[in-house]
Symmetry: C2
Subunit: 449 residues, 2 copies
C-alpha cells in the first residue's frame, strides 16, 4: 500500500494551496495530491474561455506549481475513505495510507431533475471540467440564440462573454435583479444597465417552467408561458458540494450538504480536514450557515487547514466567510464583501447605510476616469462596518479587498474617518472625495443624529 504523510483529495484552487502550504509548513512531511482531472482549469477564468481567451488551454493551472513544491501528484478518483484505518481507496483498486487527510472535493453544477428538458442536447452547465467545456464550446460554434438561466456572477459573466462574441443572449433570473446575493437592488440595477448596453437581453423576476425541444433544445418556456427561442441553454443556477464520498464514509454533513468543519477546518475526525466548496461555512457577520463558493475564500481555508494539520494554532482560524467577490462587465467592475443591506435587515441587524458616488481618478478630466460608487453597511449600535459594495473601474478588485480587510478587522466608522489612505491623480479617487471615506462620513453624520 502506498503511503503519504499528508493526502489531499481534489486538485482545484483549495487542493493546490493546501498541498503547497502543507509542504511549506511541514517540510519533513510527504504530501500527495490525488485528483480526477488530468488537467486543471483556473475556475474563475472559465467564462473567459468562451471568448476573451482563445481556448481552455490558456486557462490552465500548470502542474509545475505542485512539482516545484515537491508535492506528489496522482490522477485518480478516491472511491472510499476509512477514517479509522487512515486509508483511502482509489479508482484503480489500490489504497493510499495517510496521517492527515484534506478533502477538497469541490462542487458540481446543479442540473435539476424536475426541470423538463434538462437533458436535451445543447443544454449545458458549467462544471470545472476541461473536456466537458471544450465540447460545450465547440457545440456553440454554429449556434446563434443562447438562453442563460441564472443571473449570479457566473451567469452574468457567461452571458456577457457570449454576447461579446456574437451570440444573441438572453439572461433569465428568477430574483428581481441579477447578482442579488452580492448587491442591493440599486447597485444591481447598474450591472443590469451595463449588460443591456452591451447587448444582453434580460428577463428578471421570472423563473423557467421548462426547456423545450425533442432531441435538441429549441427554446425555454418561462413561468408566464412566454417562450424564448434558443439553440442552446446554459444553466448557471448554482452548485452543490461534492460531499457524497465524505457522507458515505461517515462524516457529518450539514443541512445544505456541506461537510461539517470547525474554525480549524477540521471535520469531526481530528486528522481529517475539509476545505473549499465541499466544506461547511458560517457567515463572518450573521454567524448563520452559508453556501458561498469562491476560489479565493477556498484558498484562505486551504492555508488554515494546512497550517493546522499537525499543530493547532489559535491565531490561525477561519473566522467565517465574508463572501468577498468581484467581477467585471466591460470597463465597469463590481465588488462586494460582508453583508448587503437587504440581508443585514433580514437577519435583524440595526444598520445605517450610505452610498457615495465619486470618480476613480482626479481631476476627472484625466483620460481613463471612471465613476466609483461605494456603499457601506454599518452597525448602528457599534459603528462596525458589516458590508461594502463597490462599482467602478478595474481598481475595484483591490478596493473590495480593502473593504474586506476593514470588515475582517471589525473596523468602525471612526477608524475609517481617521485612517490614512494614499491617493494619486492617475490611480485613485481624490483625497478630498475618496468614496470609501466619504461614505463613512455620511454614516458618522447619521449616527450623530
Amino acid at each position: 500500500m502506498e503511503k503519504t504523510d499528508v493526502l489531499i483529495v481534489g486538485g482545484s484552487a483549495a487542493g493546490i494551496v493546501a498541498a503547497t502550504t502543507a509542504k511549506s509548513f511541514y517540510s519533513d512531511k510527504s504530501v500527495m495530491l490525488v485528483r480526477k482531472e488530468s488537467q486543471v482549469l483556473i475556475p474563475c477564468g472559465i467564462p473567459y474561455v468562451f471568448g476573451t481567451l482563445e481556448c481552455s488551454d490558456q486557462d490552465q493551472v500548470p502542474d509545475a506549481v505542485l512539482s516545484n513544491a515537491d508535492v506528489k501528484l496522482k490522477i485518480a478518483e478516491v472511491t472510499a475513505i476509512d477514517p479509522k484505518e487512515k486509508i483511502c481507496k482509489i479508482s484503480d483498486g489500490t489504497e493510499i495510507g495517510f496521517e492527515k487527510l484534506v478533502l477538497a472535493t469541490g462542487s458540481t453544477p446543479i442540473k435539476p431533475a424536475w426541470l423538463k428538458g434538462v437533458d436535451l442536447e445543447n443544454v449545458f452547465t458549467i462544471p470545472k471540467d476541461k473536456i466537458y467545456l471544450d465540447h460545450f464550446k465547440a457545440s456553440l460554434d454554429g449556434i446563434t440564440k443562447v438562453v442563460v438561466v441564472g443571473g449570479g456572477f457566473i451567469g452574468v459573466e457567461m452571458a456577457d462573454e457570449l454576447c461579446k462574441f456574437g451570440k444573441d443572449v438572453t439572461l433569465v433570473e428568477m430574483m428581481p435583479h441579477v447578482l442579488s446575493l452580492a448587491f442591493d437592488p440599486e447597485l444591481a440595477v447598474e450591472a443590469e444597465e451595463v449588460l443591456i448596453s452591451r447587448g444582453v437581453k434580460l428577463k428578471t423576476g421570472i423563473g423557467v417552467k421548462e426547456i423545450n425541444g425533442d432531441h435538441k433544445v429549441t427554446g425555454v418556456t418561462l413561468n408566464d408561458d412566454e417562450i424564448l427561442a434558443a439553440d442552446a441553454v446554459i444553466l448557471s443556477i448554482g452548485y452543490r458540494p461534492n460531499s457524497t464520498l465524505a457522507e458515505k464514509s461517515g462524516f457529518q454533513i450539514n443541512k445544505m450538504g456541506f461537510i461539517r468543519v470547525n474554525e480549524y477546518m477540521r471535520t469531526d475526525n481530528p486528522d481529517i480536514f475539509a476545505i473549499g466548496d465541499c466544506a461547511s461555512k458560517t457567515s463572518f457577520i450573521t454567524r448563520t450557515e452559508k453556501a458561498t463558493m469562491l476560489a479565493s475564500t477556498s484558498c484562505a481555508e486551504a492555508r488554515i487547514a494546512a497550517m493546522n494539520l499537525y499543530k493547532l494554532s489559535t491565531v490561525r482560524l477561519f473566522g467565517g466567510t465574508i463572501s468577498i467577490f468581484c467581477t467585471a462587465i466591460g470597463d465597469l467592475a463590481f465588488g462586494a464583501a460582508g453583508v448587503i443591506e437587504n440581508l443585514a435587515k433580514e437577519r435583524d441587524f440595526d444598520v445605517l447605510t450610505a452610498t457615495f458616488k465619486g470618480i476613480d481618478r482626479h481631476p476627472g478630466t484625466l483620460p481613463d476616469t471612471q465613476k466609483q460608487i461605494v456603499k457601506l453597511i454599518v452597525s448602528k449600535e457599534s459603528g462596525i462596518i458589516l458590508g461594502g459594495e463597490v462599482i467602478g473601474g478595474k481598481s475595484v478588485g483591490e478596493l473590495t479587498n480593502l473593504i474586506g480587510f476593514i470588515i475582517q478587522n471589525r473596523m468602525t466608522v471612526d477608524a475609517l474617518l481617521t485612517a490614512q489612505i494614499g491617493t494619486h491623480p492617475l490611480l485613485t479617487a481624490p483625497p478630498t472625495a475618496y468614496p470609501l471615506i466619504k461614505a463613512a462620513e455620511m454614516i458618522a453624520k447619521k449616527r450623530r443624529q
Copy 2:
C-alpha cells in the same frame, strides 16, 4: 470686526476637508476659510498640467465644494494671529475673530540660497500656485533641454511628463536611486528602468554644484564637474512648512520647522489646531519626527482636527504618519506604505522581508496583464507588518491602500495568512498566487526557521 466660530487658514486639500468636516460635525457653527490664492489647484495633479492635461484650469478644485457645505470663503492673507484674543489680522487691514482656529498654511518649495545661479531666468520650482505655474508652463514652450533636480516623486513625475511631451529631460538625484525615501534600492531600480525606457536621462548618486548662466540658465554643473546643458532647470528638492506666521505668533515649532501638534492635531493652544504640510508629524512605526508631506495624509489630519474642534474624542486620533503614497510612470504604478527595509534597519528594528513577483490578472494570458511585485517588511519578533512596497498595474493605488490598512491595524503575518481576499481574472492576481499573501507566506516560513 468680522466673526466666525471656526476659522480655517489655507485653502488646499487639508483646509478644504477641515472646513467641510467642521461644518458636517458642528452644523450649528459658522465656518470660514481664508486663503491667499484666488484659484486652488489639486496639488498632486500639478505635474500633469505640463502634458496630460491641457492647462491648469483642468486641475482646479471648484469652490463649490465650500459653498455647497455652507463654508464662507475669503480671499486674503492672514498676517498675524493673536491666540489670546482669538483674532486673526488679514492683509486688507481688517480682523477676524474666531472661537477655534485651524492652520493649514501648507508648504513652499525649497530654493536654496547657497546654490549659485538659483535665481537665473528659467530656473523653476513647483509651488501650488496657479499663476506661477501658468507662467512656468508658458516659458517651457520654445525650450528643448530641461534638467530636473531631485528625484522624489514630484521630480520623477515632472521628468516623465515633460519627456512624454517632447522635452529632452535629465533627472539628477543626489541619492543612489530615485524615490529612495519610499522604495528600497531593488524596487527603485525598476522605476529607473521605466523612466529610462521612456526617454528620461538619469544622473543618480550625484549632486548639483551650481546652475550656470548669466541672465538665463544655460546648464547645470554637477559635483563631479560634468556640465549638463539646459534651457530650463526645475528644482524639486523638497518643501519647507509655511510656519512663519505661527512662529511669530508664539507657537512652538519643531526642529524641522513644523508647527508642533499632538495626536488631536492641537497646538499648545487648545483652541488652535494645525494640519497638513505645516503641522508636525511622527512616524506611525518609528515614532520619530517626520517631514512627510502628502495631500492624502493631510486630509486624515484635517478630518481629525475638525472632529476634535469642540469635543475631544480618544477614538479620533492621528496615530502617526504611515507615509502612504503611490505614483505611476506610464503603465507601471508604484506604491508604498510604512517603513522601507533600509529605514527599519537604520532605526534598529529587527526585520524580516520578502518579495513576491507575480501578475495582476489570471490567467496571465489575459490581454492587460501586468507584473505585480509586493515586498513586505515585518517585525521578526512580533510578526507585525511594518511596511510594504508595490509595483504593478493601476490597481497598485488601492493595493497600497490595502497595505496601509494592514499597517494601521497592526496586523500580523498570521492575520494575512488567514485573511480572505477576493480575486477575479480580469481584476486581480490569482487566489493561489496573490502576491501580498505569498510574501506573507515567505516571511512566515522565515520566522519558523
